[in-house]
């Protein structure tokens, strides 16, 4: 087997960092995606344009440029934004939040497209029925639209998550100590770059497989009809 020469521990540490980044940026990205989709579908022209611009910008700009841009000018931008509200203290964003933020921005853009498609796929009768029984707009969204959109969006979101998982490798460029970072370090000191980058690659393959299985499970649990079917089949047996 492959001799890790005592670098197994740090590689595991890097894997943990990658996973943490992945989870955090998926969560923030999903929120950004829902907001982006709502903006896009909103009757307000300005909001709709804003969302379209967001998606098109992220689509055309390389991931690594986005990450570097957020890394170098993110805190200046946040400071400028906060100073509008009168908050002038110095803020420094940690590399972790810069990385997670940049990844979330990219995931959110693609996710907003998925959500938009899913929302427009939802039969109109659903929201009409909700309106008919007197639900408000917020309640309709959270009780009727979102649970069904989730189900429609999951397969495409799964693909996006796999893309995001691979994009996490880019944060090593801004010095975050993820798998790539430690693999590079270990490769340099042991003079065996191939071995360690290959191990890194295998870890990513493993993570991809795990995420794929989890998405598959998620699709199952998000689908009450499928669960019901499975239960019936089990009881018949």
């Amino acid at each position: 087997m492959i001799d890790l020469q005592g670098y197994g521990g740090v590689l595991a540490q890097g894997t943990l960092m990658t996973l943490k980044l992945f989870v955090v940026s998926v969560l923030i990205g999903l929120i950004l995606g829902v907001i982006g989709a709502l903006f896009r579908l909103s009757k307000n022209r300005a909001l709709s344009y804003l969302a379209t611009a967001y998606v098109n910008l992220v689509r055309g700009i390389p991931e690594i440029v986005v990450i570097l841009l957020v890394y170098y000018s993110g805190s200046a931008l946040v400071r400028a934004l906060l100073s509008i509200f009168g908050y002038t203290k110095y803020i420094e964003m940690s590399p972790f939040w810069v990385g997670a933020g940049a990844l979330a921005i990219m995931f959110g853009a693609y996710a907003s497209e998925v959500f938009r498609m899913a929302i427009s796929e939802l039969p109109k009768g659903q929201t009409e029925a909700a309106a008919a029984i007197g639900m408000g707009r917020g309640r309709t969204f959270f009780r009727v639209v979102l649970p069904q959109v989730w189900l429609l969006a999951l397969p495409a979101l799964g693909n996006l998550m796999l893309v995001l998982l691979k994009d996490t490798a880019l944060v090593s460029v801004i010095g975050l100590k993820d798998i790539m970072f430690f693999a590079g370090r270990a490769g340099q000191t042991t003079q065996q770059p191939f071995t360690f980058y290959f191990v890194a690659l295998l870890i990513y393959l493993l993570l991809t497989a795990v995420v794929m299985v989890l998405i598959d499970r998620g699709e199952y649990f998000a689908n009450p009809a499928k669960r019901y079917q499975a239960r019936i089949a089990k009881e018949r047996r």
């Binding site: 390389p62 691979k166 990513y204």
Partner: protein, 235 residues
């Protein structure tokens, strides 16, 4: 927050000099990827299980891991082996960042394109293949005259997406010291401490390139799918 326009204007020519390299790093791998993807797609449809499995492993390997790792594996990794260093292609090709990036990108995009081609070939209506059978076409004739042209027209949207991804992926070449748009921007920015300005300009250049590519592909798509357009349109 202040945006220094002078820096942008001063260094725009240098950034523009990186454009040809970015375009090369996008187009060449995509051209190779089309060929490699086709071969892989055919392997995936083979009747021999071992060949199907090999193609599956290849596709999973390259689609399941980050492009950055693949790039580093080839550029930094290969020097670990003395027998690779003794190969005749070591000096002119495998030691050069340019060719390493090309190889990594081409291998990577082949895997993605093979899935696109496979999907498009699977979507060719069965009736058309049966009609070809009825006319007595053999496997090659059916492939060259029916399946490939039809699949090509159908895969254009997905393939143009893949090219945009390759364009964005080509920016990774800057991590192995190549002076493409991103590489140039990063180098100048490191010297002048104007990361925001230069990276924004680089981003805009990429946006323009991607719009150009998308526009071109829209034309191509309209041409290859002209049977789907409104009747008498453009006549």
């Amino acid at each position: 927050m202040n945006f220094n326009w002078h820096i942008v204007i001063e260094h725009l020519p240098a950034l523009l000099k990186g454009v040809p390299l970015t375009v090369q790093l996008t187009i060449l791998p995509c051209a190779v990827g089309l060929l490699g993807g086709f071969v892989l797609a055919m392997m995936r449809q083979s009747t021999i299980k071992a060949i199907r499995f090999m193609a599956w492993v290849y596709v999973y390997f390259f689609r399941g891991s980050p492009l950055l790792v693949q790039l580093f594996l080839i550029y930094y990794g290969l020097s670990q082996f003395t027998w690779v260093q003794n190969l005749p292609i070591w000096e002119p090709i495998l030691k050069q960042a340019y060719w390493c990036a090309m190889i990594a990108f081409a291998l990577n995009t082949s895997a993605y394109v093979s899935e696109i081609i496979r999907g498009a070939m699977g979507a060719v209506p069965k009736g058309e293949l049966e009609a070809a059978d009825a006319l007595g076409m053999n496997f090659m004739q059916k492939l060259v005259r029916i399946r490939l042209p039809r699949a090509f027209a159908m895969m254009i949207p997905a393939y143009s997406n893949e090219i945009i991804f390759m364009l964005k992926g080509s920016a990774l070449a800057s991590t192995i010291s190549l002076m493409d748009i991103t590489g140039t921007a990063r180098t100048i920015a490191a010297r002048t401490y104007t990361h925001m300005e230069l990276l924004t300009t680089a981003g805009i250049l990429y946006l323009l390139l991607s719009w150009l590519l998308m526009g071109g592909f829209r034309l191509l798509e309209n041409r290859y799918n002209r049977h789907k357009l409104a009747p008498n349109a453009g006549i």
